[in-house]
Symmetry: C2
Subunit: 114 residues, 2 copies
């Protein structure tokens, strides 16, 4: 069980991935760092829309940004991507509490029989 | 490059995970199938809010539902969870196109030298 805040934090990571424009941006960054100008051109969106999407992606930890000259440069954060994958692994892991209890029962039964 | 529709479909999977209530529901389902009544009780939400969340989770493929008597029973879909994990793996994989081009250049250079 996590705290409400932890669920909110985790939800933020997936919310960042839950938008088709942001998925397109991530795909662009898979082949390396990109200048904001390239993303703007590739996606045919305005600068304020791009800023909005990049803010969400950076806050999720999946993307890192650095300023250079008059532009920002963005890249995938390996650490952030690993964290997101670990989070999804943890979330979708089937907990075998039930099985373990069953096994214990079988063991007791076995020891009663022998 | 995917089509706009594919990005929308993929975004839907992550959007389903981008909500703290839905993350709590997924966590409940990690230990096995649950009746809607148990989820309602565990989350202190109303039936219409639960229906809304379950619709999104089922549409994403992550959760499966089956009716029994007057209630719905929900469980994690192993297939859907695997699909989501594969999607995230694909999305965050660094493409080494750049390196491969560099290697090719090195090879040409090597063949020129020898």
């Amino acid at each position: 069980m996590s705290t409400r805040n932890q669920y909110e934090r985790n939800a933020k990571v997936f919310k960042a991935l839950g938008d088709s424009n942001r998925l397109m941006i991530i795909e662009m960054l898979q082949s390396g760092e990109r200048c904001a100008c390239e993303i703007l051109e590739g996606l045919h969106i305005g600068q304020s829309t791009l800023s909005h999407h990049m803010k969400i992606l950076i806050e999720s930890g999946i993307v890192a940004g650095r300023p250079e000259g008059k532009w920002m440069y963005y890249s995938l954060s390996q650490e952030g991507c690993e964290a997101a994958k670990n989070l999804l692994d943890d979330l979708t892991r089937i907990k075998d509490n039930g099985n373990r209890v069953e096994n214990k029962c079988e063991l007791s039964l076995h020891s009663l029989r022998t």
